[in-house]
């Protein structure tokens, strides 16, 4: 075998190795992107659940909370806004407004002791609390996945492959909670 033959073989070997590397990176990017989508689906399930619970809740408390008609209207409007939002960023904002209002309703409930004796309401409140928790826990795991994926996309050499096949950045899901923002910062220094 001539030196030319050996050189050809080496080049061929390097090319095969490169192809395998590209395939490997491509596949891991796809896997990570699917995990992001899967995590998003989890959030979506919980958000939908929240939207389904709200009319029930309002129906139950309406009879007791006669002075809160404006709050109910605002919540209904915020709910339909949240349901029509499409992008991750839009949803984040709309759900944030809805979260803030639900929080205000929870506070308002404290003024109606007879409501807290209503079994139906208590069951609904438990479901709602749980759904809020599930939203925030699934959001945490979604954001973890997005971080993994975006990191992988930005580091060498996977950034080249990501650029070649047009892998887009994924957006973090940030719920802008009005109530959270309103908490004053306490400093002891």
């Amino acid at each position: 075998m001539s030196t030319l033959g050996i050189a050809l073989l080496v080049i061929l070997g390097v090319i095969v190795l490169l192809i395998f590397m590209v395939i490997g990176i491509y596949n891991s990017l796809i896997t990570l992107r699917n995990q992001v989508k899967n995590a998003w689906a989890q959030i979506d399930v919980q958000l939908k659940r929240r939207h389904d619970l709200i009319p029930n809740l309002i129906e139950t408390v309406k009879g007791y909370m006669t002075h809160e008609r404006q709050t109910f209207e605002a919540i209904t409007k915020a709910r339909s806004n949240a349901m029509s939002a499409t992008t991750v960023a839009e949803k984040g904002q709309a759900e944030g407004i809805l979260s803030g209002m639900m929080g205000r309703l929870q506070v308002a409930v404290e003024a109606y002791p007879e409501l807290k004796a209503n079994q139906n309401f208590l069951a609904l409140q438990e479901e709602l609390t749980s759904t809020e928790n599930k939203i925030s826990y699934s959001r945490q795991s979604y954001n973890d996945q997005v971080l993994f994926y975006n990191n992988k996309k930005q580091v060498f050499p996977s950034n080249i492959i990501a650029g070649m096949f047009n892998f887009a950045d994924e957006t973090f899901f940030e719920i802008q909670d009005q109530a959270e923002k309103a908490v004053p910062k306490v400093s002891f220094s």
Binding site: Q42, A123, E126, E127, T129, S130, N133, K134, S136, Y137, S138, Q140, S141
Partner: protein, 402 residues
Amino acid sequence: MWELIKANQRRSVVLFVLMGIILIALGFVFGFVFDPKGTGGGAIIGIIIALLVWFIMSLVAVTSGSAIMLSASNAKEVTQDVHPQLFNVVDEMRIAAGMSKMPKVYIINTDAPNAFATGMSPDKAAVAVTAGLLARLNRDELQGVMAHEMSHVINRDVKFMTIAGVMLGSIVIISEIFLRSMIFGGGNRSSSKEGNGQAQAIIMIIALVFAILAPILAQLLYFSISRKREYLADASAVRLTRYPEGLASALEKISNSNIDMPMANKVTAPMYICNPLKKKGMKMADLSSTHPPISERIRILRAMAGGAGLANYQSAYSQVKGNAAKIIPGGELKLTEDIGIRMGIASEVLDNKTTARSSNDIMMKVDNYAFINCDCGMKLKVPSNYEGNEIMCPRCGTRHGV
């Protein structure tokens, strides 16, 4: 999270090797002393017998350990309608931990507050809580306890405890048999041969000392790692719930109760969130206890400031214990995570009467009692084996269909 599981597995291997050495050495000594011919062949048979005992016990534990644990504690599998909040809380923790399958949920009908988890892998997980626990804890506290229990499954503590427990059990059984046969039968050799009586007596004494020390040594090994894993599960629980106070006040409530759990025993005790056998008044608490002192766990949880990450737990631990012992494996600490502590949910303080009543109600629900609310305000509780189509309210006389 993965780093944590890997580090746990490394530690487990060290423990298994040490326990395995004790087991084999025990078999060796056992066979050597009872060797009829004195050629050393008996020692090998002894080792084989020891390994056989261990193998059979592991086979049973791996295939049906969960089922044995659940039935030994009288746990009953329940559906969501028995206690919706419990199911919600477990589901929340499942989401937070990224588990794909919902664990099975069991309730134990006793007023003693406690809980445990079983399952060699997250897919086969099951959690069990007592009715007394459900009645006493508020939502945040229940969440803390469930997070702690599910962390045991995710960190593979259950798997480890099962395997180590079986090894410990084998060692205890073999030394027990050995000691008993020494007392009742004596060695074969002492009567059949004469002359080297002194050498034999020395061998006998060494064997005796070894048979007494081996189980103690194995237990100390087992317990020391069991305690470390309790801290780890606390740290993981806080990371999942992002609310250290929930677990802290749950532990406080559990430790304030002094009701014994008749269904727990020495073998199943390490699986519970708090030692169910605490009433025995053990003095050697530091060495022979499967759980770290509760007051210390609470103090560490309450010292967590600034975040709910694993690193925050580690610094709280060092601060409370005053030493730099590592609870969280180093690899996990390097990951900088910024997990804030969330706000708690306001809840009412329950008095003893309400607690006792709701604990009773939960037990009845688990036993499939039917609950009928009468218009007069009376709540009728009908057992599932009630025969007849209707029942009369004892207060107002209204008849209700069953």
